[in-house]
Symmetry: D2
């Protein structure tokens, strides 16, 4: 389907994370190893918070592949950020257009998704009707991913992200099953308000798309005292990725099934994720 | 807003109508004379029925301006059709993307629109809910124009186009006024099933965007016995346009306010258009 | 690098050849089996001669991948042609832009290429200077492939294609070796004037990119009396492809190293290809 | 032809200059007042130096119009720079593609142009041959503007910009006249190395495209003590523009015919510009 990454920590040039690693996200756009599709060339997006306070993150999206995009190459070489999301898309059928590119944004929030709502064509109307009428008209694209975002916003994302996502999943599963869809949802989700990052891994079938988080930098430094890169980033620097970048042994840990993690203030936690009936 | 044209008659290279006239649609994309905006550069589309029977019309749309599009230039030089629509867009706010480009298509039907639903952001949810659930998930874009098309399809476009459009307008005006929008609709619409063409001119305020139809070719030949072009096309050849092409005196007639016309079998008729309460 | 196909024979909807076969060119854009790259997503092009006489072929090119292009899908469903070229690109470094998409056209001629001039950056100026001054300013893009086309035009492509291509190769090899490039050229080339098709397979190293031509249709019918598709096309229908489409046993024959073929009047011939010193 | 602006001074969000003024460059893309064309919708570019030291400027270019570009809107809201160029293009015939968008870049240098070489198709080969062979293969696009840049680089732009530009003009005029072109050049040019900005206004006919520079900020403050904007920028802040932004009386001064200006260290100077025979 898609691949994504979330970075939080020492402000870095985007290039350091997007292009430089051996199996970078840009490389994954051509040669994904763990994805359903090897090619993720149906548009991409990067969203970053500036170092200075601006409030909302900046978005850069395009409908072509990431691997040959000149502007992405330029931005990666010139933009530095302490918190950014990047996403490469392999469409499951909806149109290839900027409004369908992740990350999606609402105010200071960003959201990105890998996976799919099964039979979305069948469920789209009913799910969209559950979106708050105040939010409805802000939906710009036609993906399941954006509807999931707007459902989470409807269910209180800005108050309690894990609960809002649990209710969103509950709603999708209820509506799906009411229409005879046995396993309505597949998802890994990254979401942030610019300060904390939440990452979710879940699927109705219990066989979710892959998701990994990076090992604590202080631990990695002990494992790899010669890795110069690790000297440049702070202890609280973290990555969450669809599939590992690079080949540093010990650097990556799988997020377990039906689990979500939170990254904040140099700490991180994993919690079980359980859908909440709506 | 936008500019459009509908052609029906002797099969012609698209070039003959799209590029060759003195004030062609391509020229109008840069220098519209009668439009709200002089520039119509936010995407375009052409839909044509092939000479041989294929059933559905072909669509070619792009998000850039028509005036510099290499592929449109190529198609115009190589595609011949007896019935085609062309549309150049000036967005009133919705995204510039292929799924928002006119003409829209459903089965053998094509639809294009100039104008706007006032405060569409406010009315979008309620109007979209009036679309038949069977049709809802086929909506690909985010324009008011496409919602109008799906409402007309819901209200029986394939059985009785004038009535379906009258009911669509009735619905838009009822929903608009319920939300305090005094003049909810501005429209000229072209619609076809590949055999007949209907053209509508209407606005809630009674001051609609311009719309013109061409004079009968046999009449024009008497006026302009030296116009070689008129020898090449059959008597039943007709154009409907947002603003006149070329400068041939007597060639263009304004469609009156609150009126629709039908082109079929070499005949054409004008009828009053009255919204129908829904 | 790239993948291409050339079709000549019974007029067919492009769809029949571009999308329908099991391992179609569109499928090859995502999953090439024999190419240097598995993904060919850096633009594409189709060039076709209309059934009626127009003189020049029509070109449709775009900078995105072929696999998700809505307009290509539309054209394939609605355009019928007796002779067309299609090409999907994986850039070797030059910009992804329409003027670098194959096929290239000059008058009634079309040209497409898979391969590369080694160290083209180094040789570009000197090779470009060999292009006839009358033709020079018509070069629109920046690929090695287009320079090869203009060299062939300079060397008499419209009089004697095999000789012009042999001289082009001779020139590239001479200039390359003068700059210390041991194996200057890798190529398979398709070229046509709208009546005949020539296909070349050659490389300085003698290990050229793959190229196949289809078996005579009358022979295939005897092998596969149940293949309905074969009933629809004439005996003189032929395909030349970078890698086989579909899985019909006996349908494909490799063009030998240093060989060119000609398709004309239902006949085809293979000849040795030898560069000619210039 | 085109419109451009160069900004140098207090680091500002691009938005402040690109979108906010009453007659901003974005507005000029739709409604230029002084340009040859009212619409400048054939691509655009922005080049900016980051506040932190990175060496080369960042480029963002796109082939669509500036006025509806979502990414430009995002960058303008989130990128702050002390020195940036912006350019909107109306092609005089060459392809609409990113490699033809201004500003052009070489190392730390940026270059943008409004105007044209007359009969460039005729002169292209000979002018391109004057480019240094070491630089030749770096030419990525097909515009006269980029060839002018590479000629200036060939003639010592990084040592003495006014002299290099004078020699470039001398070369163009010599080659043009040798081919019977009476008035070979029309130009306003902006060029920078990231520290100083040079702006040139010249044409062979002596009737050049318009060019304006902004009045010293300290002078403007005395004229407009209530203009809050002027309090936010330093005395040495300067703009050079194809046509005035906004309507502040006294803010804009025309660059005279055959003149160039330099902006550096809060100072600026105007000098006569005289082509130098090459």
């Amino acid at each position: 389907m898609c691949r994504w990454l979330a970075y939080s920590g020492t402000p870095l040039l985007l290039d350091t994370i997007l292009y430089k690693p051996a199996h970078s996200l840009i490389d994954q756009s051509l040669h994904s190893r763990l994805g359903v599709e090897t090619t993720n060339g149906d548009g991409f997006g990067v969203g970053w918070y500036a170092q200075e306070s601006i409030g909302t993150p900046a978005l850069f999206t395009d409908v072509g592949p990431a691997w040959n995009n000149r502007n992405l190459r330029e931005l990666a070489d010139h933009v530095r950020s302490p918190l950014f999301f990047a996403h490469i898309r392999a469409t499951t059928g909806t149109a290839v257009q900027q409004t369908n590119c992740h990350p999606f944004r609402h105010g200071r929030w960003m959201w990105m998704h890998n996976g799919a709502i099964a039979d979305f064509h069948l469920l789209r109307r009913e799910l969209t009707l559950l979106v708050s009428p105040e939010l409805y008209a802000d939906i710009e694209g036609t993906t399941d991913s954006e509807v999931m975002f707007y459902l989470a916003l409807t269910f209180g994302l800005d108050r309690n992200p894990p609960e809002a996502v649990a209710r969103m999943v509950g709603a999708v599963e209820r509506v799906g099953r009411a229409h005879g869809v046995e396993f309505p949802l597949q998802m890994t989700i990254g979401v942030t308000d610019g300060e904390r990052v939440w990452a979710f891994r879940y699927s109705s079938l219990g066989r979710s798309r892959s998701l990994f988080y990076s090992t604590r930098v202080d631990t990695l430094r002990k494992l790899h005292p010669d890795a110069a890169f690790l000297e440049e980033v702070s202890d609280d620097t973290r990555l969450v990725v669809s599939e590992p970048l690079g080949d540093l042994p010990g650097a990556w840990n799988e997020v377990p099934e039906s689990t979500y993690g939170v990254i904040q203030d140099g700490m991180d936690e994993l919690h079980p994720f359980v859908p909440e009936p709506v």
